[in-house]
């Protein structure tokens, strides 16, 4: 198991959002975490990536406990987090942003290789190399954030709502790039509201409701599940 979460509790101060969450992601998998607004999907990712300290339970990454570890150390372990608000460095150029993404990579040949891969995956970023990240359009920002995540050669990538606020065509493009990444060997844990598309892309999925995991299984099975069909797919 690359990532294993055992009965995790988390939240913000007195407000507990996650109750006894357990999930696991194997090396090379594409796992989705879906659920309605306010279910605690983003909180789960924030807790894994170390931006939020867990209130209980255990998080194991490649066998090591990373629960309660500081964010920059979790990143060094090989976890890249692409947050919902993207957290780009808006007053730096696209290239500088990508270079900052490779902050933890010491080998400059590896840095260069990653940069080439990002430009290959998102040719649009190459065109805008010297533009400030703050001047990019919404879709380009998403690509930028994913690209910055790739730069650190992560073993596990946590992606929070990449389709949020994107036109359907751009959403497809982003999903396609995530699939390419997965094929290249990066494990992905994806949080999404776009349930139909997510179940088609991922191999396995967990369904989170009100801070608890209510269902899990193969994506294809879940897509045919009565509960999922009724609540999320609307047919």
């Amino acid at each position: 198991m690359l990532l294993e979460i055992k009965s995790l509790d988390s939240g913000y101060g007195f407000l507990q959002v996650l109750w006894d969450i357990s999930l696991s992601v194997d090396e090379g998998e594409f796992v989705a975490l879906i659920g309605p607004n306010g279910a605690g999907k983003s909180t789960t990712l924030k807790t894994i990536s170390g931006l939020l300290p867990p209130q209980g339970g255990e998080i194991l990454f490649a066998g090591d406990s990373i629960g309660g570890m500081e964010g920059h150390l979790v990143c060094r372990k090989g976890v890249a987090f692409i947050s919902e608000e993207l957290n780009l460095f808006v007053n730096m150029t696209v290239k500088e942003n990508l270079e900052m993404g490779a902050f933890t990579v010491e080998d400059s040949a590896k840095q260069k290789e990653n940069l080439e891969f990002v430009y290959e995956l998102f040719p649009r970023l190459y065109e805008r190399e010297n533009q400030y990240a703050g001047t990019l359009s919404g879709g380009e920002r998403k690509m930028m954030a994913i690209g910055r995540g790739i730069m650190s050669s992560p073993r596990l990538m946590l992606v929070d709502e990449p389709s949020l606020g994107l036109a359907p065509m751009l959403t497809n493009e982003v999903f396609k790039s995530l699939r390419t990444l997965n094929k290249r060997g990066t494990t992905i844990l994806l949080v999404e509201q776009n349930v139909g598309k997510t179940l088609k892309t991922s191999s396995r999925a967990y369904i989170l409701e009100k801070g608890k995991i209510v269902l899990d299984g193969k994506s294809a099975d879940l897509a045919n599940d009565d509960h999922v069909r009724k609540i999320y797919l609307g047919h």
Binding site: S49, G50, L51, E70, G71, H72, C75, R76, A80, F81, S83, L86, N87, L88, F89, V90, N91, M92, E96, E99, M100, G101, F103, T104, G134, R148, M151, S152
Partner: protein, 363 residues
């Protein structure tokens, strides 16, 4: 056949167009900058400086350039502190004081030695050692302050950060001023000159060697600082944290380390200014108050968190003070800048350079 004849003409016009747009955008950029608030102010400042120099004599230009550089250094440090950590530093003058005090104590034996050995190379290098000692002392002091005070506050309470830090820095300032008085006494601790050489004539004005050196130190530091922030990895991490703390954490930057670095840089710059100006401002407990006010004027003038803007801002405030001193007389130079700052706060609270920098505070 017909299409082959048409194609070249299309290509040529397309190339023309591309060239035109490149030219246009460059010219347009310059024109737009000149007519922006920042451009108008900078051009006006240069113009006023030249006109006043012709009217009153070139000493105005020379004085502006020499003192402006040092105020800019102070303001850069203050601005950095604000944009990276959101600390409104009111203890910054005390680092200026600490810098000048350290330089004084290091310069004492060096001065004695050079009196006996006037030909030795220490005459040239000694003052630099004193100034560097002041800088490093303040950098270390800054790191200690960060670890003992601001880190503790960060761990314990993130609410009302800006106000708490403001009050803490005022407290620090009181402690450091009185600490100086308690240990070293309230008398002036100054030197006559760092570099005891004949004055240099520049544009018909005789300027002491110390002032010339102070200007070069300020200029070199500013260039060095710019290079550091733009091209070094450490500088980039500081910029990254100032733009998005969470994002910096996500790419593996240790925010804690960046805070230490910021404090060291910021306080070190104040110490450098204090140490280099020891020949003008002898060290005493409240020597830092005036430089502190000056740097706050600069920050308000150019806008909070605008680090690069501090450089033209420093020269503007210096020019303003030199002008009031020579046209209204001594003593007015504290009054008129305050009036200007009040006007700016009322009519353009974001500063003349209208910073687009998003500080941690806004997030």
């Amino acid at each position: 056949m017909a299409s082959a004849a048409i194609e070249p003409t299309i290509d040529e016009s397309a190339i023309d167009k591309v060239e035109q747009t490149i030219e246009n955008t460059f010219v347009q950029k310059v024109v737009r900058w000149v007519f922006s608030a920042a451009g108008i102010t900078i051009c006006l400042t240069i113009l006023i400086a030249i006109v006043a120099s012709i009217h009153k004599g070139p000493y105005i230009l020379v004085n502006t350039i020499i003192t402006g550089g040092m105020w800019a250094l102070m303001a850069i440090g203050l601005s950095l502190l604000f944009s990276v950590m959101n600390i409104a530093g009111f203890a910054h003058g005390e680092y200026f004081m600490a810098g000048s005090l350290t330089a004084y104590f290091v310069m004492q034996p060096i001065g004695k030695y050079t009196l006996d050995h006037p030909e030795s190379f220490i005459t040239y290098v000694g003052p630099l050692i004193a100034i560097l000692a002041g800088t490093f002392m303040c950098a270390i002091l800054g790191v200690i302050t960060e670890r003992l005070v601001f880190k503790q506050l960060r761990i314990r309470n993130r609410e009302g950060w800006l106000l708490n830090c403001f009050l803490i820095t005022i407290g620090l300032s009181v402690i450091m001023q009185n600490g100086h008085q308690l240990i070293f006494g309230a008398d002036f601790k100054g030197i006559l000159a760092y570099w005891d050489f004949p004055s240099v004539p520049i544009l018909g004005v005789y300027i002491s060697m110390d002032r010339v050196c102070a200007f070069f130190i300020a200029a070199l530091t500013m260039v060095g600082f710019y290079m550091f922030m733009m091209f070094s990895t450490a500088g980039k991490t500081i910029r990254a944290v100032s733009q998005d703390e969470e994002g910096a954490r996500m790419v593996g930057i240790s925010v804690d380390a960046v805070h230490i670095m910021t404090f060291a840089l910021s306080c070190g710059l104040a110490g450098l200014a204090g140490a280099s100006l020891l020949f003008m401002f002898p060290s005493y407990p409240t020597v830092g108050v005036m430089p502190l006010y000056n740097s706050w004027f600069i920050i308000i003038l150019v806008g909070f968190g605008n680090v690069a803007g501090s450089i033209p801002g420093g020269f503007m405030i210096a020019l303003f003070q030199v002008l009031t001193r020579s046209y209204f007389g001594e003593g007015w130079e504290a009054v008129i800048p305050v009036l200007l700052i009040s006007l700016i706060l009322i009519f353009k609270p974001s500063g003349i350079f209208a910073t687009k920098v998003r500080t941690v505070w806004d997030q």
